[in-house]
Subunit: 276 residues, 2 copies
């Protein structure tokens, strides 16, 4: 299996793990965002992942992946996961995937990569936080409308991720050697039983470790902190993960960043020999 195909399989395995409280998974849908949208998203992302594997520019590869992912009616399925997996595929195509190697890949991104990252937001609606006033011209919701500001400021895609890192757990991976993704990958490799069961377990552990920035954006910090407290109870066996899943879906508490990091961890684990 090629790195691009492993990227697709990581996306599929992520959505297959259940229960992953608050997320679409093998046994849970939201009314307008359903399991099959994630299947189509993973298949559609392929061409962009191949571009990344073949050494194409990262921003353009990412935009291709998002364009392909968005050819289904559910909307945003795997934007954050692909923001992690695209540089991973690029790194794996060149050799072993390790924190230094992937950091080297993301640090070499350019202003043009940043521009194409902004273009990706035109394919799909993504929940984001309001930028600080000083960076209002860089709001990703402007799409290509922000490219002039990107160019004027001379910001690379890595710079953009650095700016977002304080409020976005996926961007933070870019600036910390993909620390939590590698941690998730190690846990997935060490786990027992079928991979979807390991995936669900690692998801709960990661959410118990740290509040989810997607919940912070779509609700608020207090809700994210409370979700992590509840996840800790589920991890420790004090509430049943399935009950927590029902509760989160009901309240539309969707720990999407944690799911993205689990997808990144699945890619790393597959790359290091995790068998299905």
């Amino acid at each position: 299996m090629t790195p691009a195909q492993r990227g697709q399989l990581a996306l599929l395995l992520e959505v297959c793990g259940t229960p992953k409280p608050g997320n679409v998974d093998r046994h849970h849908d939201y009314p307008d965002l359903r399991f099959e949208h994630f299947l189509a998203g993973a298949i559609g992302a392929y061409n962009g992942l191949v571009t990344a594997a073949n050494g194409g520019a990262l921003g353009s590869a990412f935009e291709d992946a998002i364009c392909g992912m968005s050819q289904q009616t559910g909307g945003n399925t795997q934007f954050g996961a692909l923001l992690l997996i695209t540089p991973m595929v690029r790194t794996a195509a060149d050799g072993d995937i390790a924190p230094d190697a992937i950091t080297d890949v993301v640090e070499r991104t350019t202003v043009e990569d940043a521009a194409n990252f902004y273009r990706a937001f035109e394919h799909v609606d993504v929940a984001v936080a309001d930028p600080p006033d000083a960076y209002e011209d860089l709001d990703v919701r402007r799409g290509s409308g922000a490219i002039e500001a990107i160019e004027t400021r001379g910001l690379t895609l890595y710079d953009v991720m650095e700016l977002s890192a304080p409020v976005d757990g996926v961007a933070r991976e870019w600036t910390t050697g993909f620390d939590r993704s590698f941690d998730a990958g190690a846990r997935l490799l060490e786990g027992d039983g079928p991979v979807p069961d390991r995936t669900a377990r690692v998801f709960l552990e990661l959410l118990a470790d740290e509040p989810d920035t997607f919940i912070e954006k779509t609700h608020d910090e207090a809700t994210a902190t409370e979700a992590t407290r509840r996840a800790r109870l589920a991890r420790d066996g004090e509430i049943h993960p399935s009950d927590l899943a029902a509760e989160f879906i009901e309240r539309e508490i969707n720990p999407g960043t944690t799911a993205d990091i689990v997808a990144g961890g699945l890619f790393i684990a597959l790359d290091r020999g995790l068998g299905i």
Copy 2:
């Protein structure tokens, strides 16, 4: 989405439809054949499907697809489905998919295609019926060991399918203009609601229409006839499909041929504009 990618998505949507009594689906596993094996099988089949789309020989494309499909520990996941989808991808890459066009593709197969079809059986164990005594030298379980007999007899892959058609519902598709696959495709397009729900419904309708040859092979004719009778009750609302699913899984009654034809129908429906 390219024809090869539509082929993969058809495989994924097929296994996603639930309940499809007796088959692995979004909510059902067998202990050693699980949902994630089908995900990995669909991703792995890609290179073979691309070979077919690019006009490569059908037998070799199919063998590549099966080789890639089998890189997971569940064993045979989509052998029959790929035997339908590979020629469909080939046909769709050249223009509209229609019974005449696909029949033209399969009728043009060669002795070498037949040889590579036999080689595909070396990648994975497939349940097959005993051949009649006069064709004992053509038993597919001989794998490449049967190629000399194929060559001596001058049999093309289409000829091999003709020989199997009386006992194998997938082979019969090749010799009947993919009749049931087109029928399934039309029903999927006409259906209501999310595609996985339509898929489950069409599966039940097809099984209610005709005994499944995979059940005939793995059990016997009486069991296959009884399964179809039970499916009719489920289709007509007299028993709940979920109860039938539990019953079939318990008795290891796996209507695999019907699932293969539904996968073929999904490809046709996607090709004709079924949206996800």
